[in-house]
Symmetry: C3
Subunit: 170 residues, 3 copies
């Protein structure tokens, strides 16, 4: 069992690193996504290995093929020793195309295995392994919403950005 | 990137606001669900916009058509500035009818985008946008349990309430 | 609404108890899984009731029939009063066999309802009810990965263990 030395505040900071990655990717804020990594951060993904900059460049055209994505995270465990941490975060990433583009509708089960480091007081990813556990097709399962209402988008009109602008938070 | 001023304790309090909503809805404790909002709280949902009181009134007959629900939450990010917070919480809501009522079996992917405020020391929702990201049919996928065991209910016999009564907690 | 007396640090400790169970089970570290319970811990599961030791013994052959599992947790609410806590954790457990063994591909929706106690300063499970809310077949839905990349395993070669050994953390 791990012996962890980090403070509770550091746990929240480390959790927010993962949140920045997910929100940045799902809402199309590449600067936010990029901020989850240190300048020299490395990423190992299904079909890719290289720097964080190269990863985002590689991902961008693939990501445009989808109508949206949701990088949903659960179990989050940061084992902190000094300025290093091993951080495991369980995730399910839901990707959808248009309703008639079934091939694009998949959910992946994965775990982000992150080596995070603290530099100048800021935690970020030095190296990530996105370990894919399973891949499920959701072809033919998506259906239209039953009524109108707030909807997620990749534009500045997503309810999140609208509220943040209104309250001048963030 | 947001600059947040809240304390770690406030983060837990804000997280519990969302937990109260989910447990209240899934376990049929409307007072608990209602307590997630301030007295004048507003909710924007798929097919509904209005006060929290009106929302619960609107939801009740719809909700009776299901055998159960699970409002499962993941990514939770509270950006706190003074007594205001923008709080985004990712969720998947699983709804099931009886095993032969396939039309009712759906899972929705959403994000709660909440404007929470602190009044008299208590955080709660002032205004919520439940942004629906995707809707998936689970028709034909539910199967019976393979054996007997603890089961979720909407009654006072759910294992959670039984344990809370036994330990006199809550 | 519950009145909770625990500190923020205790909340993290209690959350890690649940994390130990999930990682131990998914990564095949039975000692880690066992450490989530006190020595005399009790577990009530679908198809089983008995001590934690008996539970792990009962589970082991069943678990070998699967290629892998993911015990994905969300909503986590610890209501702490002194050295007792009622802890509810929502979960979805994804189980997969080989790609052509469809009968084994199921996802279960459940809630861990845990009576945790603090003894000698350590929180662990005294009694658990794993309340099954729904059972979904994923037969015919799993597909191969689209490319090579980091993969979850039950062996010492999982990226998590590789990183922990490299950094000598844990």
């Amino acid at each position: 069992m791990a012996t962890s030395t980090g403070s509770d505040s550091e746990r929240w900071q480390i959790y927010e690193v993962v949140l920045r990655y997910c929100r940045g990717l799902d809402r199309n804020d590449k600067a936010l996504m990029r901020s989850a990594y240190h300048a020299d951060g490395i990423d190992h993904h299904t079909g890719f290995t290289g720097t964080a900059d190269e990863f985002i460049e590689w991902l961008t055209p693939l990501w445009r093929d989808y109508q949206g994505s949701m990088h949903f995270i659960g179990n989050h465990w940061a084992e902190i020793v000094g300025d290093d941490a091993v951080v495991e975060t369980y995730g399910m990433s839901v990707h959808w195309g248009k309703l008639d583009e079934d091939g694009k509708n998949t959910t992946n089960g994965f775990r982000y295995v992150d080596h995070m480091t603290k530099r100048d007081g800021l935690w970020a990813i030095s190296e990530r392994w996105a370990a894919r556990d399973w891949t499920r097709s959701d072809a033919g399962r998506y259906v239209p919403k039953e009524a109108e209402g707030p909807t997620g988008t990749r534009t500045q009109e997503d309810p999140l950005w609208v509220l943040k602008r209104k309250l001048q938070i963030g």
